[in-house]
Symmetry: C2
Subunit: 341 residues, 2 copies
């Protein structure tokens, strides 16, 4: 069916290797005239190299895995703010003539399997918690450039790209403190899920301490990153902690649920309670009032991931194996001064 190197070689009256060299741009070995003749035939015949044959012979696949957790039989958990990163990764990699394989991972061993089976040159780990990354051993990932996103494992096998979560939390909390809030709650998922939440929590605590505000563990709530859980939290918050005037959350979707819950409990935002989200999802700008939130540098994240991976593939590792990207506070309508007593 397909045109192969051999066909081209026969038509051009040269050896197969010469065609291979031309197709792969190995300039040194071929005269300009031959090269042009071959290229013309390649175009004419619509020759497309076989990636599997290449990968087999060259022991490099120019394939990068995009590994995403898949809980059991359920669908992939690509949250909306991750989608953008995926799109950007694909573009960057395509520019470098790499391809992306999307793979859900439900058991730990599947990471290894995917890497080995497809002979992946690299992989991006999206949304895995640090434990999974720490469990990867050198035996698992021989020679594969692994980039973990938003992890705080210090596993030297994995390159890491993340936002400055500590700094983002500082920004948000400082903003609330600056507006005059003193009873500021923290809502986010369990720490164990990923170091990200812990870093944000630590940023929050640090700012409280800086301003001499006593830390009250009661104001820290474990809330999943969903609208429903945010809603439930918002409903009970005024009852359980009527003195809370502001909430820092670790996700926009949670914040939006929270605001709806507060409304259901008769509290207005930002009149009675201020809310700050995290991620600056598109949707943050679509709700009313528009959400004050912390924005991550998504394009930067994708670009850094690719850069780190390419550096490792090229063997030029640099000292900094973990990159932390800047964040910014986006002030919109959900954070204001606390209500006058």
């Amino acid at each position: 069916m397909g045109v192969t190197l051999k066909d081209i070689a026969a038509e051009a009256g040269v050896s197969l290797m010469t065609v291979s060299n031309v197709v792969n741009g190995k300039q040194a070995r071929v005269s300009a005239a031959t090269r042009e003749r071959i290229m013309r035939i390649v175009k004419e015949r619509g020759y497309v190299p076989s990636a599997s044959a290449r990968s087999l012979a060259a022991r490099s696949s120019r394939l990068v895995g995009l590994l995403v957790p898949a809980v059991g039989e359920s669908s992939l958990t690509i949250d909306p703010h991750t989608v953008e990163v995926v799109g950007m990764l694909e573009r960057e990699l395509r520019r470098l003539d790499y391809h992306l394989m999307l793979r859900g991972i439900s058991r730990h061993g599947e990471i290894t399997e995917a890497l080995r089976s497809w002979n992946l040159d690299g992989a991006v780990l999206l949304g895995f918690n640090d434990v999974v990354i720490d469990r990867l051993t050198a035996a698992d990932v021989g020679g594969v450039a692994l980039v973990a996103m938003d992890s705080y494992s210090e596993n030297p096998l994995a390159l890491e790209v993340r936002s400055d979560d500590f700094g983002g939390a500082e920004l948000a909390t400082r903003h609330l403190v600056g507006l005059g809030h003193r009873r500021i709650a923290f809502a986010g998922p369990a720490f164990s899920a990923t170091g990200v939440v812990r870093r944000r929590f630590e940023g929050y605590r640090k700012v409280l301490a800086e301003h001499g505000i006593g830390f009250d563990p009661d104001l820290v709530s474990e809330v999943e990153t969903t609208h429903a859980d945010g809603l439930a939290y918002g409903r009970r918050l005024p009852r359980e902690h009527p003195d809370v005037t502001a909430v820092f959350t670790t996700a926009d979707i949670l914040a939006i649920g929270l605001i709806e819950g507060l409304a259901a409990a008769g509290r207005s935002v930002p009149g009675d309670v201020s809310v700050v989200g995290y991620d600056n999802a598109d949707l943050a700008a679509y709700v009313t009032p528009k959400l004050t939130t912390v924005a991550q540098d998504l394009p930067g994240k994708a670009a850094e991931a690719v850069r780190l991976m390419m550096d490792r593939l090229a063997g030029r590792d640099r000292p900094a194996q973990a990159v932390s990207l800047d964040v910014a506070l986006i002030e919109r309508g959900t954070a204001g001064p606390p209500p006058a007593r």
Copy 2:
């Protein structure tokens, strides 16, 4: 580095083909005792088959492409409601032991290249307009099972999965008419982009006609599927057509922008103007008031796409090569009776 069939064969004292047969579950050829011995060694040594070698030798890759338009150097255009479909596709395919390759397509020839280079068994075309699909010729796709999503090309080379766009529009428009609206505008992107919008438009027209409501082309506006364009449209609508009391839009995000624009122009939803969206995106439930919209069967879409593809791969094509999935109207808070005069 990797363990190969040969290693296992040597250790088990059998030929390489026997191991291959065991690994691939070709029961007939191997005794149970041998099979178990081999499986044990396979487990012990952590053998993982090489996908490239398989794909080369077997002329089938168990790889499915997910082809998405990429405009020039820009990032992939996976809209949020598409992401869910992607996740579901991945899961379904993984269950069947297929893998997914995500690939942005910026030039027409790239579809062919991707198919051939990786020896894809199948591909899902996401978000391409009908023209692109019509341009695919048999030469391009020899033997590849192509499934186009949301297209209305009648190209026999492509299997097609879509929602009942005509019916969805009927549902929405009928709902508005039922509430008493007579001046109902239609807002969506240009028809040329995809047959989807045209089908929705036709559904809208049909219901108007059914109820003896004259069709006014002035009430049809070309608005891109973005918040910004919806906003702009909402701002100018009351000025240009003060008598319009309802708008049917082809996308939630557009509808949400529209509502904000109407508010800016001093019109309230649904008090002054009713709005119906399309897609039932998550965000439709997060805005205030919650958006009345048409829901598509996303899981069904993914499942049908995989089913059609597997049927074609197995050679059991059925007559219906295009599947149309049911839609449902989700009544929430943005559609009500027209204001009393």
